[in-house]
Amino acid sequence: MVSLKKGQTEIVGLVIVVIILVILALIFLKFYITGNGDKDSSVKSVQANNLVNAIKMVTMCNQNIGDAIIACCNNNDFCGRDACRLSIEEIKKIMDSSSEEIIYFEAKDNDDLCLSVNNDCNGVSSSINFIRNNDGEAQIQVKICSIK
């Protein structure tokens, strides 16, 4: 058997250490790349879009919440009550009953915020939905923030 000199032995040891480090780095990279982030955000995006669609269609006083939101943006009453107050109450009820997560809701009239429920966050947003009737129009959007 060929005996190695001290310097050569150290080089072989170094190479083995480098190989082990590379293998560990590859294993870490595999778990890092195949995380759940994308899957969760795609589901949350569908949930956010389904929720904003459900909210705008809910029937209230033979009309829908969309009409109440537009009335709120126009500072009008709806169903004999303050439209903003009524909209906030009902939207909060819908969000609390349909999801376990904290959800932010906003309604804008030409980029002017006229109604919001909960605090804004950096969550997964729905697409912006346009609602309109004879009195005007508004843009509504929800963001799924986090688990309660």
Binding site: N50, L51, M57
Partner: protein, 152 residues
């Protein structure tokens, strides 16, 4: 023992250990490959379940339509009809339970639209999403939760 015999025993011992290490290595490789296939299968099933929360509300068999226009909601009037033929949807749904649970404005009602539970399963996963439903009885739109339970 002579020197030659010792070397033969040494060779046999080396071959024995080599075979043992090879067998262990092969078993580990087999087990990891099998686990990999199982994990991929589970990921695929999970992906299919996640897709259902956007697919079910868009099914013509269940979705609302008014004056030839499609509306993004589920028509409660179509559920009983769908339930009668739901077994024919096994290719799409697989082993799952699909429930529509009314959550707003109040009188909570559950509608099971599809149910096929395997005899044996290890665990159950649940995925849910809000949904708009139309009640033809009182001509109103309500909010429900689409709950998909899948078994593996």
């Amino acid at each position: 023992m002579r020197r030659g015999e010792i070397q033969i025993y040494e060779t046999i011992l080396v071959i024995f250990f080599f075979v043992v290490i090879f067998v262990f290595g092969f078993l580990f490789f087999y087990k990891f490959t099998l686990e990999g296939i199982r994990s991929d299968n589970l990921d695929y099933e999970e992906f299919k379940s996640r897709q259902l929360i956007s697919y079910i509300p868009s099914m013509y068999e269940l979705r609302c339509s008014s004056m030839l226009a499609e509306v993004e909601c589920i028509d409660l009037g179509k559920i009983s009809g769908f339930k009668k033929v739901s077994t024919a949807y096994f290719d799409i749904f697989g082993y799952k339970r699909v429930i529509i649970k009314e959550v707003y404005p109040g009188n909570a009602q559950d509608f099971i639209i599809y149910e096929k539970i395997p005899v044996k399963y290890k665990s159950k996963e649940v995925i849910a999403s809000p949904l708009s439903i139309y009640s033809p009885k009182d001509d109103s739109y309500k909010v429900a939760k689409l709950i998909i339970e899948w078994y593996h």
